[in-house]
């Protein structure tokens, strides 16, 4: 019994240490932004807010892209996952496996088809061009579909007796049951979009349309003080979302059997 607790303490110490290592970059980023020329203060923030006007449109772009994509994606994902769950047709399994494959494809495979699609539609260098392809990302479909296996069919059956409108069935019987999964997926998708680098880099030419990720990566153009302040401001929205939705993350994102 004693050996067991010693082992437990040892693992606890190990995990704690590891946790500190993992947390260090976050803490150091924040501390760094308050230190300018070896003095502690908020000059870097002053500089960012009052001298660096490109920051505002870029921050707004990041919010706009991530927010709109997340919202619109939910409207595509939920019916699609529902369809995969209840529709019966030939080739459904093959289609589902195709979605899994697509989910697993790295950006460097999908970005060229996306680029060609946008080019042919004349959507390069527009806001729509960033938003549109991201709405159809298959990740959420797969996660939602996995989660849907555990929801209560009888509520859907009962609602079907009341109405034949698919929209009403989805809204009143399906969405409330998916709440936790929706939060988790929304958090995940938002964070993904917030973090995107390649799409604005490749699809946009106009600086006024670009996101904060692009600004922060331009280390030659901006002073270190401005960059470190922008980096912290950039973390805040996701941190806030995380504190709100954190508990849903584990229950909402279950992915194991993919057939």
């Amino acid at each position: 019994m004693k050996r067991l607790t010693a082992g437990k303490l040892l693992t606890a110490a190990f995990i704690l240490l590891l946790g500190l290592v993992f947390f260090y970059p976050v803490a150091a980023s924040i501390l760094r932004s308050f230190r300018v020329d070896d003095r502690i203060g908020i000059q870097s923030y002053m500089e960012l807010f009052f001298d660096c006007f490109i920051f505002y449109p870029m921050f707004w772009n990041s919010v706009l892209y991530a927010g709109v994509i997340t919202l619109l994606q939910l409207f595509v994902i939920i019916p699609c996952a529902f369809g995969f769950m209840y529709a019966r047709f030939r080739g459904k399994n093959a289609l589902y496996i195709f979605y899994i494959m697509l989910m697993m494809m790295p950006l460097q495979v999908t970005v060229l088809p996306n680029y060609i699609g946008l080019r042919d539609m004349g959507l390069l260098n527009t806001r729509t061009g960033i938003i549109l392809p991201m709405i159809f990302a298959p990740f959420g479909v797969i996660v939602m579909h996995q989660y849907m296996k555990s929801i209560d069919d009888s509520i859907i059956e009962a609602t079907r007796l009341d109405t034949s409108s698919m929209i009403r069935i989805l809204w009143t019987a399906v969405v409330p049951q998916l709440r936790i999964c929706i939060f988790a997926v929304a958090l995940f998708v938002f964070a993904e979009c917030w973090n995107m680098v390649e799409q604005p880099m490749l699809f946009l030419k106009d600086n006024r349309l670009k996101t904060l990720t692009i600004m922060i990566s331009q280390t030659d153009t901006f002073s270190p003080a401005i960059l470190s302040a922008a980096a912290v401001i950039f973390m805040i929205p996701v941190l806030l979302l995380y504190t709100f939705f954190n508990e849903h993350l584990e229950q909402g994102l279950t992915l194991k059997d993919l057939s």
């Binding site: 082992g7 437990k8 693992t11 995990i15 704690l16 500190l20 993992f22 947390f23 970059p25 976050v26 150091a28 760094r32 409207f75 595509v76 994902i77 019916p79 699609c80 529902f82 369809g83 529709a87 019966r88 047709f89 289609l95 899994i100 697509l102 697993m104 494809m105 790295p106 460097q108 495979v109 060229l112 088809p113 060609i116 699609g117 549109l132 392809p133 159809f136 698919m166 964070a191 973090n195 680098v197 390649e198 904060l212 990720t213 990566s217 470190s228 980096a231 912290v232 950039f234 973390m235 941190l239 979302l241 995380y242 993350l249 584990e250 992915l255 194991k256 059997d257 993919l258 057939s259």
Partner: protein, 278 residues
């Protein structure tokens, strides 16, 4: 005349009702399918076409010549080697760490649960935000170490989330029965927990392999958009350089080859998983 119109509209109504439940369910997939069709499938076929012609303007069919050329390209091979090395070295470390951490979080001392946030946050925090700190930690280290660490730092969160979800579905009684026999907790997890969640572990391995192809973002930000040292030149850099040159043939061929590679990896994973369930 009026009557006729009425009959017609009645017909339309009944026709709309004839759309069965199953039909509506299929329709639900439609929206997503249309988007996928226009932004992926149709352009992908064009990408395939680009990989088989000599260039944009002459459009001569050259068969597999582009593929032969790419497979002999020094930079492509270097990128492929580095990408595979990243998988072979980092993925096992990542999965092992994630397993240990999520086990400790689930079954260890209660207080330890507070450290969870440290492992989950990197997954959602923008890499761009912390990259300045990474640079000052590694002080211009030119080896693969910074990229490998960034990869593990960034990807451990999703692995822990998925594994923890799997742990919470295991019933506690199993442990109680086993611990009566006097097995140590290490044995307990080795022989009970891990086999029980094997499908999830397999999936996390698969996801991590696939994510290792996405490490470009971290690497790009870390090197500040400059050319990376040779050891960190991965497939994504190869693609990106060709993107900047707008060399469609090289891009298309690279994309097709990468997609075949990922396709085979996922197929193998799915087949393995099917065996677990039998």
């Amino acid at each position: 005349m009026v009557k006729q119109k009425k009959i017609k509209s009645n017909k339309q109504v009944s026709r709309r009702h004839r759309l069965t439940w199953n039909g509506k369910c299929i329709l639900c997939i439609g929206l997503s399918m249309i988007g996928t069709l226009f932004f992926f499938i149709i352009p992908y076929i064009r990408v395939l076409y680009y990989s088989l012609i000599d260039n944009q303007f002459r459009r001569n069919f050259v068969g597999l010549a582009n593929f032969m050329e790419t497979l002999q390209n020094k930079y492509f091979l270097l990128a492929l080697k580095n990408s595979l090395l990243l998988i072979v070295i980092c993925v096992p470390v990542l999965i092992l760490l994630a397993l240990v951490i999520s086990l400790a979080l689930a079954y260890g001392i209660k207080l330890l649960k507070k450290t969870r946030v440290a492992f989950i946050l990197p997954m959602i925090l923008p890499t761009a935000s912390v990259v300045l700190v990474w640079r000052s930690v590694f002080q211009g280290n030119e080896s693969v170490l910074p990229i490998y660490t960034l990869f593990i730092w960034k990807n451990i969160g999703i692995c822990i989330v998925l594994l923890s979800a799997a742990f919470s579905s295991i019933e506690r009684e199993i442990y109680e029965a086993a611990s009566l026999d006097g097995t140590s907790s290490l044995q307990l997890h080795r022989y009970i927990t891990v086999p029980l969640i094997a499908p999830t572990i397999l999936f996390t391995v698969l996801l991590s392999i696939v994510n290792s192809f996405k490490v470009f973002k971290e690497s790009y930000l870390y090197f500040g958009g400059k050319y990376p040292p040779e050891s960190s030149y991965t497939l994504q850099y190869y693609m990106n350089n060709n993107f900047l040159k707008l060399d469609y043939q090289a891009l298309a061929t690279g994309a097709i080859l990468t997609s075949i590679l990922v396709f085979l990896i996922v197929l193998a994973g799915l087949a393995l998983q099917r065996r677990f369930y039998k």
